[in-house]
């Protein structure tokens, strides 16, 4: 790239993607949010408070762990895992909910709503609402409530109300519709904490900024551990794409770093049961922004499928769509079966049970590692831990 990377525009566009495709009722709320966020990031007190909570409450910085047995298994580049699975609540999601809940408090909002797929964002939202004494309603697809029962119980224990969504595919897409409808109805007193780099501007930018800490720490830790400021490859899974944006963004201008996003292929990109948005999607509008979308030939939103509830989404963040367009990030599909095999492999070799989402990034090592050299470094964003997925994983281990 010849020009420095800067996005989004004032109107919330990353190249041709992004924007604010929402009902008129939400426009004043988005403008209010944009102004509050701009003021917050300029306010040293806000930044100090955010950093202190990440340290004292979330447990950051998370380690960058050298995966020695996984490295030996492939016998090629050195593999490091960025351990977001060690964050409080078990995934990177809380980096963002801490930031947004601080913003909600600055704006005087008393009621928080969120959508959740795998339940990790719902748990991270319920957690910060408990910590700050705010009312919390989480929308979750009925299908996801079945496969992520543990997280439903966690949210309820944390004092959140979990509302089952029975419309459409009864998964993350429909939970997001319902959260937006709630926001439209209670716009004056409610703050909507979106869990990924999706939705109308300023959410994709704001969520990315709150997740950038992952990449910033990775850079500093690599310097300490390897004397280098950048790896050769970074691999991260992409559903909406928040953990990937968080680790990619600080490295976008390091031309020598190959960035790879793994999307969920489900039963295979041509199986009709997939969530591989870049492999099978086309540009379109869903949940407030223009991005790549899985859709039918008549422009209805298609049902996504992935064994991982967190990747089971027919869209992707607009900044990813832009990075795909300009070729800065390579997006590759990974099937359910390959992800499940990676769960077993990494559990046995590293003593780390990864989330099914994260396993989609780890699975891609099978393809990537033979192409690497021993003097190179690969970082995988270990975005979450697999405890929440044990019911699903057990079905495959003991069918």
């Amino acid at each position: 790239m010849n020009q420095p990377y800067s996005a989004p525009t004032e109107n919330g566009y990353f190249g041709r993607f992004g924007g604010k495709f929402v009902p008129e009722i939400l426009i004043p709320a988005l403008v209010e949010l944009e102004e509050a966020y701009a003021a917050a990031v300029r306010d040293p007190e806000f930044r100090i408070r955010y950093a202190a909570l990440l340290k004292e409450y979330v447990g950051r910085p998370t380690p960058l762990t050298y995966a020695d047995r996984l490295t030996a298994h492939y016998g090629k580049a050195r593999i490091y895992l960025k351990r977001e699975d060690l964050c409080h609540t078990g995934a990177h999601k809380i980096n963002n909910t801490i930031g947004q809940v601080l913003l909600a408090r600055r704006m005087g909002k008393k009621r928080i709503i969120a959508e959740t797929g795998a339940g990790q964002h719902g748990v991270a939202t319920a957690t910060v609402c408990a910590k700050f004494g705010l009312d919390c309603v989480v929308y979750m697809g009925a299908e996801d409530m079945d496969r992520q029962k543990l997280n439903v119980d966690r949210m309820r224990l944390l004092g959140a109300e979990v509302r089952a969504v029975h419309s459409g595919s009864r998964t993350l897409k429909d939970a997001t519709n319902e959260a937006i409808r709630d926001w439209v109805t209670h716009v004056s007193d409610t703050f909507y904490i979106i869990g990924s780099v999706v939705g109308p501007h300023p959410y994709p930018m704001m969520v990315r900024d709150f997740q950038r800490i992952i990449g910033e720490e990775t850079r500093a830790q690599l310097h300490q551990l390897e004397g280098r400021t950048a790896p050769d490859y970074i691999v991260a899974c992409v559903g909406g794409g928040s953990n990937a944006m968080g680790i990619f963004h600080p490295f976008l201008e390091d031309e020598g770093v190959q960035l790879i996003g793994t999307e969920a292929a489900g039963h295979g990109v041509d199986s009709g049961q997939t969530a591989a948005t870049f492999a099978k999607g086309a540009p379109g509008v869903l949940h407030g922004s223009l991005s790549y979308l899985l859709q039918t030939e008549t422009g209805q939103i298609a049902l996504a499928h992935s064994v991982s509830a967190g990747l089971d989404y027919p869209g992707v963040g607009p900044e990813h769509a832009h990075l795909f367009d300009i070729g800065r990030v390579r997006y590759v599909p990974v099937t359910d079966a390959d992800a499940l095999a990676a769960v077993s492999r990494v559990s046995r070799l590293e003593g780390i049970i990864p989330a099914l989402e994260t396993a989609h990034a780890l699975a891609y090592l099978e393809t990537l590692m033979p192409q690497t050299r021993p003097d190179q470094i690969v970082v995988v964003n270990c975005s979450g831990r697999g405890d929440k997925d044990m019911a699903t994983i057990s079905q495959y281990l003991n069918p």
């Binding site: 604010k20 495709f21 009902p23 008129e24 459409g168 422009g299 209805q300 939103i301």
Partner: protein, 261 residues
């Protein structure tokens, strides 16, 4: 003069606009139903183009959209329905839907073909003025009106901008919420709290108020001082209650007459 401009130029008030979902309750019912609604007193018809993820709609229109999509309705069908109505009626027809199926169909092609089929305007709840530039241009090129919305929380300044960028009429959303029938007192209270601002700031276009209206009393009280009202979810509920009994259209027409007079 456009059909919408001609309608408002008649001076008759309040204008009754009815929303029906294309392809609901069955794929072949829309043209006949539309003509029947006109006989029953509709001055203007909004034809809803079903979308799988209608985030401005409550359960009633969501469900009607799901049924219509399951019935197989597509944009070519909807354009055929517009042609079918237009062949037998001069009633103003406005298409209402979400932007994604239009992008998928082909942006310029859609607006051109909609105008050729006999549609008069378009309402897109997920395209606010910020994203409306391309739609406005395409509508102007095709000869369609592009109808924008205002809501109770829209500022005076935005109302003036929306008035200047909208043609045909301005759609006044009665409450902060999604579509769906509501209790009349809530509705009146909400509209009364911002009706003066609407009248002061929207001066170029006529204003129709919608969301939640289900009775004659609601319609008259809520639209007083404005140019008319829109009935959507309550009409869909009336269809759902009556279909498939053999006299379902008679029953729906009776509901429409009860709202009108």
């Amino acid at each position: 003069m456009s059909r919408l401009a001609a309608l408002f130029a008649t001076g008759e008030r309040p204008i009754m606009s009815l929303f029906l979902t294309a392809g609901y309750p069955t794929l072949d019912s829309t043209v006949g139903l539309a003509l029947r609604l006109q006989q029953a007193g509709a001055d203007l018809l909004e034809i809803g183009m079903p979308f799988s993820d209608p985030l401005a709609d409550g359960p009633t229109i969501q469900q009607a959209s799901d049924v219509a999509i399951a019935n197989g309705v597509t944009i070519p069908h909807i354009l055929d329905m517009v042609r079918g109505i237009r062949a037998q009626s001069g009633i103003p027809l406005v298409l209402m839907g979400y932007i994604n199926p239009i992008l998928n169909y082909g942006f310029d092609r859609f607006f051109r073909e909609a105008a050729e089929a006999g549609a008069d305007g378009i309402i897109l709840p997920d395209v606010p003025p910020e994203e409306g530039h391309a739609v406005r241009q395409a509508c102007a090129a095709a000869g369609l009106d592009f109808i924008l919305l205002v809501a109770p929380n829209t500022s005076d300044e935005r109302m003036r901008r929306i008035d200047s960028e909208s043609t045909g009429f301005v759609y006044c959303v009665s409450v902060t919420g999604v579509t769906g029938a509501r209790d009349g007192a809530t509705l009146r209270q909400s509209v009364d709290a911002f009706k003066d601002r609407v009248r002061a700031n929207i001066t170029k276009n006529p204003v129709l108020v919608g969301f939640g209206i289900r009775s004659h009393e609601d319609a008259i009280q809520v639209s007083r001082g404005l140019d008319g009202y829109i009935v959507g979810s309550a009409l869909i509920e009336s269809i759902r209650g009556a279909h498939p009994s053999p006299d379902w259209q008679d029953r729906v027409a009776a509901f429409v007459r009860s709202v009108k007079s």
